[in-house]
Symmetry: C2
Subunit: 289 residues, 2 copies
């Protein structure tokens, strides 16, 4: 393989992948190389642009840490995450749709009892969620595990607030009851910009894009015999429902948030001194394949 030129090099690389023992890896890598080379040829990438790409990827990698995942942000903002979700998480009619996972989930969220205030001090308008998990036939799914996480009123997840250290706020793991019901207190989600102080933020500025996501609460719901559901419930109305920076909005995921004035009684019986909101939500799980 000497004297490779810009036309023959793709075949040369594909030949070099011929002996990949794992058939799927061979398939994925061969397609990746083919498309990557086609891209470089199509735009006639200059060496300065290639170098800019190397620097962009390097800086993106350097920003990744235990509490920040800039490559997921990049995938999200280029629509690759939502495309992958759309390909893999097709739900049957009637089931709650999936959306992007996002980079702010943690494995160490505190367990909380039903009815608990999972905000645990995170600033925001109080929100009382009454929800239930059903199967496609409308039957309750008992004792599903509910992983909830969201940003606070300043648009920040607990992971983004260094002053909190390992303290976890506005996230919890709950267990639905025998009738598939769960309830918790938290805060009303608000729109927030994704982190813009890194290479992904610069890409958004350079392309004239805003960095905002409409307000939403993340849910991951797991129950034996059912497909795990990773989704959001979005607040409606919201100025960014039609231009979510990560392309994650589905009409079926707009939640029924109801506003209540100060003085009203919350679903848990508390007489509230401040305005608050309630959300009534049903999640429908698809059967595991």
């Amino acid at each position: 393989m000497k004297n490779i030129d810009e036309h023959t090099i793709t075949q040369a690389v594909l030949q070099r992948l011929q002996h990949t023992p794992d058939a799927r890896l061979k398939e994925v890598l061969s397609a990746l190389v083919t498309h990557l080379h086609d891209f470089v040829r199509e735009v006639k990438l200059t060496e300065a642009e290639w170098k800019a790409g190397i620097d962009f990827l390097t800086e993106t990698g350097h920003l990744c840490s235990g509490t920040r995942q800039e490559f997921i942000l990049l995938s999200d903002t280029l629509g690759v995450s939502m495309l992958t979700v759309a390909l893999n998480q097709k739900k049957p009619p009637g089931a709650t749709e999936a959306t992007v996972f996002g980079p702010f989930h943690t494995e160490d969220a505190p367990k909380a009892d039903l009815g608990a205030d999972i905000a645990r001090g995170a600033p925001g308008v109080p929100l009382f969620v009454e929800a239930r998990v059903h199967d496609l036939a409308g039957r309750p799914v008992p004792r599903a595990e509910i992983d909830v996480w969201q940003a606070d009123d300043d648009g920040l997840y607990d992971l983004q607030r260094r002053e909190l250290g390992d303290e976890r706020r506005a996230r919890a793991v709950l267990q639905a009851d025998a009738q598939g019901r769960f309830r918790f207190r938290s805060i009303v989600p608000t729109p927030y910009p994704i982190p813009t102080d890194g290479p992904v933020g610069r890409m958004l500025v350079a392309t004239g894009r805003h960095p905002w996501r409409p307000g939403h609460v993340h849910f991951m719901i797991r129950a034996p015999g059912h497909q795990t559901l990773v989704t959001h419930i979005f607040k409606d109305p919201d100025p960014y429902l039609d231009s979510d920076v990560v392309f994650g909005v589905r009409s079926s995921l707009l939640g029924r948030f109801v506003e209540h004035p100060a003085g009203d009684t919350a679903p848990d019986g508390t007489r509230m001194a401040v305005p608050f909101a309630t959300l009534d939500q049903t999640f429908v799980l698809a059967t595991a394949p």
Copy 2:
């Protein structure tokens, strides 16, 4: 842009790039998104594979430092670097061809006088290089700047030897004389594996590929009025000339290395107590556009 599915998402992302002020950036990013999405759809990338990709890129970024560039290695081993060179560095007939830059160049190479031993202690068989820089008409190009760098006999560049710190070995910047001639002493290049202790190395193992490059000396030659030449001179014979892990070999870049026994006299007049080699090389620069 709600209810985006796996077919409409590409158009949705391209629409979002519509207002990119810089036309070239818009062109490059739009093509990148199109090919990236086509790749994901074509292989029906799973979420586990997407996550493996995020982890691979993250680890690759974390390995990049002032002395190691794992993303360039990735680009090199997937043929993207050589493709970019082939697209951008087409030389007219008669000019010395270009090849990949590689990740081991530094900006702080020491200047050396003509005839100096640039190995400066790097282990290897002594090599005496006599070379000249010509233009396409065969006329000498006076006082070109010659940047030379290479690995030592253990297959390591100085940058890869932590014990050396900032000490530079087997690299230098020389200036050709008024007749375009330059000469230096160094060491015979030997084949070496690219670093395999990172994600690129794991990719090579997983695809059944060897990590070897044939022995070579890097040259970057700059002169006013001429195209800068970035190339290697390869040692011939070498077991890896037909399977260079970075696809960089061109027949025109095989050097005439001549072996000499101990006791012979080197071109600089030294009576050598050990075997050594000589290389006689002419570089032909293309005219600047």
